[in-house]
Symmetry: C2
Subunit: 371 residues, 2 copies
């Protein structure tokens, strides 16, 4: 391949965060960016064109779920995940590690990898760094993630140390296998580009282990870095501290991604600390349970007090839901368990998250660079 498959240009940078453009094989992403989660080849309940209307430039796919159903080889035969789900914009896939490690009772970890049982039918499967790379290459994501051990919280220092070492060995194996096989992604010939692999900083809640993890990963030279193992139950101040401590250890000219965060005020806070990418199931999952985010805070639309509220969900929101429907109607859809509730609630919550990030980018664009 002659063309670079990832180009990251920083447009503004300062004490209040940085704004940039991340160019991937499937298009440009304006950063800082929030990435909606599309677990099983669908951002639950939302037709793809709604995501385009919201100007989502990159969404996530979950390797574990897609591996089990419909299967990565099927998706490869269908031309890759972009074509399979008709999403021509950028895709990031996780490594499958997070889901596999969530199957507490059903997994066994060795140096080689993780044996686990499917949550769907109990069948036995094995994920190694190499296998995770094979699956992600078959899916053809723009950004694949290294296979890492997701450390439980709380974990003591010895446990964190051992886990970190394993994750670093797995990162090296991930990279070696990925580099050897990335040319097999479904769209490589068509686009004359290849997928990209990001490394993941682990190390539990220990600053020195996080530092070591970052340094070892940087030595391996990934085109981007993620901070993983956060939002696992630790207090929010600790999340913030780990992010603040880790960011300066990562190359300033490469994208920095904090995985699995967060509430609207968190994603703003982290973006302003210099994080470029974030993802979280919160806006979509909460939507399906009636928890909606607005400029006036969170609200549970199932609450009786909205039964006759003719106002929009969020008077300051310009999304199609707030422009058309009342709180009373949205409340009724939840109460009557209408499937439209999930569609409209998800549409609004994602609009709110994406709008929140757009505002941060606009602020950064207008900001005076720090000296």
């Amino acid at each position: 391949m002659n063309r670079v498959s990832l180009h990251f240009e920083i447009l503004n940078s300062g004490a209040a965060g940085r704004r940039g453009t991340l160019t991937l094989p499937h298009g440009q992403v304006e950063t800082p960016a929030f990435m909606p989660v599309g677990t099983a080849a669908s951002v639950k309940a939302l037709p793809q064109h709604f995501l385009e209307e919201l100007d989502a430039r990159i969404i996530l796919g979950n390797t574990y779920h897609l591996y089990l159903r419909p299967g990565h080889e099927l998706i490869r035969r269908m031309g890759g995940l972009h074509r399979f789900m008709s999403w021509p914009r950028a895709l990031l896939t996780d490594s499958g590690g997070f889901q596999v490690f969530s199957l507490n009772e059903l997994r066994k970890v060795t140096e080689e990898g993780v044996r686990f049982r499917s949550h769907l039918d109990g069948s036995s499967h094995f994920f190694s760094p190499e296998h995770s790379m094979d699956v992600q290459i078959a899916l053809g994501s723009d950004i694949a993630m290294a296979f890492d051990e997701c450390l439980e919280y709380p974990a003591d220092r010895e446990r964190a140390r051992k886990s970190l070492d394993l994750t670093m060995r797995w990162a090296a194996r991930s990279k070696a296998h990925f580099d050897a096989h990335k040319h097999e992604a479904p769209w490589v010939d068509e686009l004359e580009q290849t997928p990209n692999l990001f490394g993941i900083v682990q190390g539990g809640m220990f600053a020195d282990l996080r530092r070591e993890s970052a340094e070892r990963l940087v030595e391996m030279d990934f085109p981007g870095y993620a901070i993983g193992g956060l939002s696992v139950g630790e207090p929010r101040e600790l999340t913030r501290e780990i992010i603040a401590d880790t960011l300066p250890l990562l190359p300033a000219d490469k994208p920095r991604y904090v995985m699995g965060v967060g509430y609207p005020d968190e994603i703003v806070e982290y973006a302003k600390m210099g994080v470029d990418m974030m993802d979280c199931v919160l806006p979509t999952r909460a939507a399906r349970h009636g928890l909606l985010f607005t400029s006036e805070g969170r609200l549970n639309i199932k609450n009786r007090r909205f039964a006759e509220d003719q106002g929009p969900l969020d008077p300051e929101c310009s999304c199609p839901v707030c422009q058309r429907y009342s709180r009373a109607y949205l409340r009724h859809l939840m109460a009557a368990q209408e499937p439209l509730a999930a569609v409209l609630n998800t549409l609004h919550n994602l609009a709110f998250y994406l709008m929140t990030m757009r505002r941060v980018r606009e602020e950064l664009a207008g900001s005076v660079p720090s000296i």
Copy 2:
């Protein structure tokens, strides 16, 4: 009110059906028309703007469901059903009778009306012709339906005779109460029009009773007439026969509506017999179960044979689903129980039904009038 609230203009009429324009307080409907069912103030899983994009001009609401949840008085306070669900186009409501009579174990019929228990919480309720009218007027539908007894199938002559007499007495009571109160509909002052009430022909599967029912209703002078009590389990030839026998008994200058039909080939057949309006839950309900209608016939998208089928659902369909997604993807959404399956399947099935009716209208527009 000075303005007529229903105007029916027949544009073409002949042996192969008739084409017309039905003008209602909330807009024009081109007939013959298929009306999607929006049971509880939502055509299940579809945002309203999709229905507009499909050019649906009129949809149904179910009086029984809306009465129970969120309640017709709440909807009246919200400005009526159009405003509550943000559907500015025409609405037709059924009388609640069909649902109430489906609650076999939970109902008791008297001359006065029907006592029944809610399927939601077992609470006791009473529907009379007057109450059904009150509910429909509170909802503010463009077309309300007379409260009728829905005869079970099969039913013997004596049972059909008694039921018909009750339905005719209820029709008269419906009309009297409706005419006395229709000015109370939520949008009457704003639009300077009132809702309309249609009568319903019953009589079981007996031609002479159907004739009597039609004649007695015509004498009461409704602005439109429905043929009810069909599609209740009888053979299709019998449905067709009853429709063929009954249509000529109804005034040619008024809209004729066959309730609760049918498959795509049925709605074409009935439209070509001179039926102007039809409704059915089939396209929406079947969609949620993966049964899809195409120009090549029905298919069950869950079938394994579609797992790697990259073609569109229906190569001849111009709907947003067929333009964008593959059978393989739609099959995956069903297999993975993704909520998007219901959205896309419903969108396609309704597009197919509405397109089918559009084709019939185009044929009729091009047809040479019979002499």
